[in-house]
Symmetry: C2
Subunit: 348 residues, 2 copies
Amino acid sequence: MTTGTTQVRLILVGVGNVGGRLLELLDRKQGTLCEDLGLDVRVTGVSDRSGLAICSSGLDVQEILRLKREGQGVAAYGEWGQPGRTALDLVRTADADLLVEASPANMVDGQPGLGCIETALVRGMHVVTANKAPLVLAYDRLLDLARRHKVQLRFDATVAGGLPAINLGQRDLAAAHIHRLEGVVNLTTNYILTRMAEDGLSYEEALGDAQRAGHAETDPTLDVEGWDAANKLVILARSVLGVPATLDDIAVQGITGIGTDLLSQAMAAGKRVKLVAVAVLEDGGYRFEVKPTWLDANHPLAQLGAKQMGIVFHTDISGSISAAIVEETPLPTASAVLRDLVQIYTLG
Amino acid sequence: MTTGTTQVRLILVGVGNVGGRLLELLDRKQGTLCEDLGLDVRVTGVSDRSGLAICSSGLDVQEILRLKREGQGVAAYGEWGQPGRTALDLVRTADADLLVEASPANMVDGQPGLGCIETALVRGMHVVTANKAPLVLAYDRLLDLARRHKVQLRFDATVAGGLPAINLGQRDLAAAHIHRLEGVVNLTTNYILTRMAEDGLSYEEALGDAQRAGHAETDPTLDVEGWDAANKLVILARSVLGVPATLDDIAVQGITGIGTDLLSQAMAAGKRVKLVAVAVLEDGGYRFEVKPTWLDANHPLAQLGAKQMGIVFHTDISGSISAAIVEETPLPTASAVLRDLVQIYTLG
């Protein structure tokens, strides 16, 4: 792994919560990447709503971060900034080995992420995405494109933030059969339910609190109605269980109707209520659902705190394996993007 | 991964709890290995105390298991059995691509495991071991041998049974810095402490119970005095933390002096006592210890049941990641050997 250095020319679409933190990580971890892992990563292009910046010899990550801190877009980047041009323009024209796609999830048509990923794969770039939408909408097509162009498409950051949930299931349980998978994979709803149960907040108070702390969007609909968790379950079903599930296969119920009374009642009965995404094998096929679920207090997912997510795999030969992460900020999610990048070059 | 089939000629040293179950798994998972993972695994040699059996076109796994069930050794295997010959004879002479080393841990000189692993690596075989002793005694030398002979030496099964603890740390946290690692990595002591705390058993009762249930050896000294956990901490230190620790660097305290009173007292105070192996970064270096530790009830390791093991990584960029396994029998440990085998051929 450490014999010689591989140069990685990276382009980034989306410089928000995850993309911005990835840039910070590339800067902060330059020594580790280069000396321990043999990777010389250069950012040769970046795109946000303002336009793009592109420079084949490498942009200055610090300068990009400075522009973002000052509320400017990357199009303001000195001589390399190009206002008004799109993410797709970047992917079509940049000299790059790898695309990191971290634009917001657009569940209607997956754009611009979907087009960027397709274009990158066809151009022979590896792709790491933190964006669920393209995978939920076009999983088979994208994986097939990657195979045909002999590049990798990785997406560990799309499920349960920085927890290597997909890696665990796909790689460490490759020879096992998973007969039940359970996950608390959405931080917003877990934060809300946990604050309601433990601190007696009302739903509205807990949501407001989550929004102020940056754990919920201004429009929390996708999260609180269970669709974000359902998207993640589709990705787990396809990547870990090998089942071509879609959103239509999942019975989805969110947390909006839940009152503090119910949670107190559960606590009093020694239970916890969590929004659990489940895939369970029944009669030869998996049944999928996302719904608020009463869990025994000693269930691994019952014990998750407000800023945690977790997953449990019940298997035939590897026992039951659970994993959880404490995620105070989106930094671990950005670290999962970095993990994918590293594994593309070190695990092959 | 699934284009074409790779033939893997496997030899096995040790047909006990783990080795025997690996043979069962190879039989049971033949379809998955071949069709999903592209691996045609044949057992071309096997060794136990009775001698060895060797056949370059492949032994019948069912026949080996039948002999073991009937209390016979592998030397009784029809025309291919060779009574009285040693494990090292097997490794020296067999046609094989991979050695699985699952002989008992000999902490004095590591034999016969150590010699078998060295010989296999020099002969250009990959090695998967479930045996801690050779790693604790000769980690650097063995890893260096593997590198020089361009083969892999993997040992995920040596720590926390079927939990991919080493994989998680080594691979998923490759770019992260671990400032604290905590593990409940010995099942025997966790079983004893948990039964004492939860069911009010005395130490002797809990130990007897563990022995009857197959969770403790007839001579439990290595486990109950903390040395098994310390061995695992050495392996974690070297493989995950990249620190050349030895047993001498670890302050070790076992569980033999612990009374039921203390555990009840802890429970009453909302705490749990577990035998925790810890590596913590202090003043630029790691401090290592294995000792009975009072944990808050919401600590991920406090919540482990009698048949569980677990690990927590506290990191700079990936938050805190914990993982646990429920391991009713040594089957998951054998599945970790199979996992290593699969990853050698599918991850490169």
